[in-house]
Symmetry: C2
Subunit: 340 residues, 2 copies
C-alpha cells in the first residue's frame, strides 16, 4: 500500500510518517509522543494564541492544497505571536480530516508547516498535537512565543502624537479571494482547481497566493518591539476594523491618510482592487503598529515594505475613540465570523 488512506493506515502508522516531517524547535524539552509536551520559557512567561481554520468557512480544498493549509496555519498563528513583540518558539496542531484522506495529504500538510516555519520563524518547533476525524477538515493551531524579558506590545498603548505604521501590504488577500470566487468556480459554485492554479501563476498570482499561502512579517514584530512600538496588532479582520480596535483600546483617534493607505495597498490597487478592499477586506496579516513621533523604521522590515499610514490623535471631551480617513470618520467594518 503505497499511499493508504488514514483509515487504512491507522493512527500509529500515520504518525510514523507525519511526525518526522515537522521541525522539533530550539526550546523543546519534551516533544510529541507523551500526554503533553514540555517547552522552555526562559523569561518565566510565555505568549499564547490560538486560531482555527475550518473547511467551508475558512478554506476550500478545491483551491487550497494541503501544503497551502499547513503553510497558512503557521502564517496566521505566528503573526499573532509576533504582534505581541515576541519570538515564536513552538506550537501544537490539532487536525481532523475525513478518514478517506490519504496519508500523503497529511505529509503535504506537515511539509507546508515546516516550509512556513523555515521561511518565517526558523527555530520554532511543532511540539505536539491531536489527530481526529471530521467530515469537514478542521485545523486548530495554538502557538507560543518568548518575550525575551521585554514587556508585550498591546493594542492599548497608542499615544497621541505617535505615528501609525504598517508592515506588509493590505487588500491583497481579499483581492485574491474575490478573484477565486469570480474566476475559479464551476457552474455549480464549486471550486475549480485548474482555474485556481491558472490564476495563481498568472498576472494576478500575487493576490491569490496572499490568500492561499500568505507570507506574514513575523520577524518584524520583534524588530518593531525593539524599536519602541507602543501598540501593535495583526491586521487580520480588515485595516479599518483592526485600527478601530487599537483606537478603542488606547482611547485615541487613529487618523489615517488616504495616501498612506494607498501606499500599503499599492499591490492590490495595481491589480484593480478598490480602496474598499484594502480598508475592509480581511486576512492581510500585516502588522499595524504605532511608534513615537520621530522614530522611523527602515523602508523594509524582514522583507516586507513598511508604510506610514497616519498618526494618533487625542480625543476631544466626549468624543468616541475611532478611525478617520483624511479626517472623515471611517466605519469599523470588517470580518465578523458570525455574520460572514
Amino acid at each position: 500500500m503505497d499511499d493508504p488512506t488514514l483509515h487504512e493506515a491507522g493512527e500509529l502508522e500515520t504518525l510514523r510518517r507525519f511526525l518526522p516531517l515537522l521541525p522539533t524547535g530550539d526550546v523543546t524539552e519534551i516533544g510529541p509522543g507523551d500526554d503533553a509536551a514540555v517547552v522552555r520559557a526562559a523569561d518565566g512567561r510565555f505568549v499564547v494564541t490560538t486560531d482555527t481554520m475550518l473547511e467551508g468557512a475558512d478554506f476550500r480544498l478545491g483551491w487550497s492544497s494541503w501544503h497551502d493549509l499547513g503553510w497558512k496555519a503557521i502564517a496566521t498563528n505566528l503573526i499573532d505571536v509576533a504582534a505581541m513583540g515576541a519570538r515564536p518558539t513552538s506550537l501544537v496542531v490539532a487536525l481532523a480530516v475525513a478518514p478517506s484522506t490519504r496519508v500523503s495529504a497529511l505529509e503535504d500538510f506537515a511539509r507546508g508547516m515546516a516550509d512556513a516555519i523555515a521561511e518565517m520563524a526558523p527555530g520554532c518547533g511543532v511540539v505536539g498535537g491531536d489527530l481526529g476525524t471530521a467530515p469537514h477538515a478542521t485545523i486548530a493551531v495554538t502557538a507560543f512565543g518568548d518575550l525575551r524579558g521585554l514587556a508585550p506590545v498591546l493594542r492599548s498603548g497608542a499615544r497621541p502624537t505617535d505615528a501609525v505604521w504598517c508592515v506588509g501590504g493590505v487588500g491583497l488577500a481579499a483581492t485574491g479571494l474575490r478573484l477565486l470566487f469570480s474566476r475559479a468556480q464551476d457552474e455549480a459554485a464549486q471550486p475549480a482547481r485548474e482555474a485556481a492554479e491558472r490564476l495563481r501563476t498568472g498576472p494576478q498570482g500575487r493576490a491569490v497566493s496572499a490568500q492561499l499561502a500568505p507570507v506574514s512579517p513575523v520577524a518584524a514584530g520583534m524588530l518593531l518591539r525593539e524599536l519602541g512600538a507602543t501598540a501593535m496588532l495583526d491586521v487580520s479582520d480588515g485595516l479599518a476594523l483592526d485600527a478601530a480596535r487599537v483606537a478603542r483600546a488606547s482611547g485615541v483617534r487613529i487618523a489615517l491618510d488616504r495616501v498612506g493607505v494607498e501606499g500599503a495597498a499599492r499591490d492590490a490597487l495595481a491589480l484593480g482592487a478598490s480602496l474598499e478592499a484594502a480598508l475592509h477586506g480581511g486576512e492581510d496579516h500585516a502588522l499595524l503598529c504605532t511608534l513615537p513621533h520621530g522614530l522611523a523604521p527602515p523602508a523594509e522590515l524582514a522583507g516586507h515594505a513598511v508604510h506610514r499610514l497616519g498618526r494618533v490623535e487625542s480625543l476631544d471631551e466626549g468624543q468616541a475613540a475611532g478611525v478617520t480617513l483624511d479626517g472623515a470618520p471611517l466605519e469599523p467594518r470588517g470580518w465578523d465570523p458570525y455574520r460572514a
Copy 2:
C-alpha cells in the same frame, strides 16, 4: 432580543456575554482581548497539550448539553497536563458552532468550563480563544501546566519491580456510551434527549455521567509526582492500549492482575459491563502510573479510588514489550480515531 443567535448578536456582543463567565486564573498576565495572551511560567518551562472534540465523532448535541461539553473539554485536557505531574495553570479554547446557535448555549458552555475548573483545578484560567462558525460544532482546547521545578513524569520511566497503579475507575465511560447507543436513540438512530436524561438520573446514571461529563483525577497527578511516580499517563484510549504505550516506551512488560483490573472496573462491572469494556473501552481519564515497589499511595487520591493493577516486569532477551493479564498476552486494542 433576549437570547439572540450568534448571527444576530455578532462577535463583539457574544464575547461581552461569554468572557466574564470564565475564570481568569492565578498566573495570567494578559488575558483575552489582544492578539495573544501572556502567562507566567515560574519555573522557566511550561507543559502543553491539545485535544479536540468534534460533533459526530466525539459527541452528539442530542445527548450532551453545552454545559457538559464545556465540562468535558476541561476534564479531558487537564488530565493530560496532570499526567505529566504538572499543575494545570491555564488554557485557550477555540470554538466553532453554527451561526444559528443561541448565545445562551455559549454561556452554558462557558459555565461548564468554569464549573469543571472550580471542581478539578481551581486557580486555572481561560486566557484566550478563537470563535468561528462550522456546520458541526468543533471544540479545540490547549491546556498548560506548571511543573514546579520538578521533572515531568513520562511514559518511558517504568522500571522492572515497579508496581502499577490506577487512580479513578475504568470502563464506566464506555459503559455509558453503550447505554446511550442502546437506549437513547430514536428509530432513525438519532439521539433522544429525554431518554438520555432519564438514563442519567436512573440507576446507571454514573456511567452516563462518566461519558458525558467526566470528573478526572486532575489533582492526583501532582500528588503521584510527589510520591515518586516513575511513569504516568491518562487512560483515554483504553487500559490495554494505554498500558501497552507505557510498556513500549519503557521497554518493559506490564503484568496486570485480573483481580486488580476488576477492582478498578468495579463500578462498571456492577452495572453489567464486561471486563472487555474495562480493558478496551476509552475515555476513562483515569491516571495509570508506576511507582517503585514498596511505595503505596493512599486508598483515595483527590477524591478518586486508587487501585493496584499489577507490576512491571523485565523483558527476556528478544521479547517484545507488551501487556499481560494474569500472565496471558493482552492485545493492545483500543481507540484509534481513524478506525473508529
